[in-house]
């Protein structure tokens, strides 16, 4: 992984058990691709569902947002401000997704995000999540978010 990609992941405002980015594979002005491997003992499998672990849709959506919006936004800002996140928090503003197949523990999710627009600080992307190994489509949809200063959050 390139130094810039590693730096972006290092600067992400999340920490376990809510950090859902392992690797950024590629990025350019229009798109980003990254992966997250679902661990066997993720906290949410204990209740979703007891004895039958299935990845919650909201978690898949979160993986898509962390890679496809937050990492991507940091990448797009990396030329102008390498410390893109200092004093700022990413705010998830909308999502409209469809699920096509379930995701289970120990599968690796591969997220591909394409920019629809990035204007006035709002990033909107078309994002797909596939099972990296079987190539099966898990989820697809449009997500958007923006960065706000911590002190602006009420």
């Amino acid at each position: 992984m390139s130094e810039l990609f590693a730096a972006i992941i290092q600067k992400l405002p999340y920490s376990p058990p809510f950090l859902f980015v392992d690797e950024i594979l590629s990025a350019d002005e229009n798109s980003i691709k990254g992966t997250y491997k679902l661990k066997k003992d993720e906290f949410f499998y204990r209740g979703h569902f007891p004895g039958n672990p299935v990845t919650p849709g909201v978690i898949i959506t979160e993986v898509m947002a962390q890679i496809g919006l937050v990492c991507f936004g940091m990448y797009l800002n990396s030329t102008s401000s390498p410390d893109g996140m200092d004093g700022k928090v990413p705010v998830f503003t909308s999502s409209c997704v469809d699920f096509y197949s379930p995701a289970y523990p120990e599968q690796t999710l591969e997220v591909t995000s394409s920019k629809i627009y990035y204007r006035f600080g709002k990033l909107k992307c078309r994002i797909e999540c596939h099972n990296r190994d079987s190539k099966q489509l898990i989820c697809k949809g449009d997500l958007s978010g923006l960065l706000v200063n911590k002190n602006e959050l009420k």
Binding site: F120, G121, K122, S144
Partner: protein
């Protein structure tokens, strides 16, 4: 285009983003998009992009910050239409 014509059109553009539709009944120039109509700031971006497309104009960062009220939005649109 007159101010009133633009106002009628803007009403159509913002309507999908306003939850309480009755707030659109008396759309005076002083009405604030965020404060009065309760539009969230992310949707203001969508509204501005819709306006750009509708009037074939480009709104820059400085202009969006001047579009706090219906009246101000109309002013910006008229100004940009003159320029472009």
């Amino acid at each position: 285009m007159t101010k009133d014509e633009i106002k009628a059109e803007i009403k159509g553009v913002i309507e999908p983003y306003v939850i309480q539709k009755e707030l659109l009944d008396n759309l005076s120039d002083e009405i604030q998009l965020i404060g009065d109509l309760k539009i969230n700031s992310a949707h203001v971006v969508d509204i501005v992009l819709d306006i750009e497309e509708k009037y074939d104009i480009t709104i820059d960062d400085e202009s969006i910050n001047k579009m706090n009220t219906i009246g101000e939005a109309i002013e910006v649109i008229l100004e940009k239409m003159k320029k472009d």
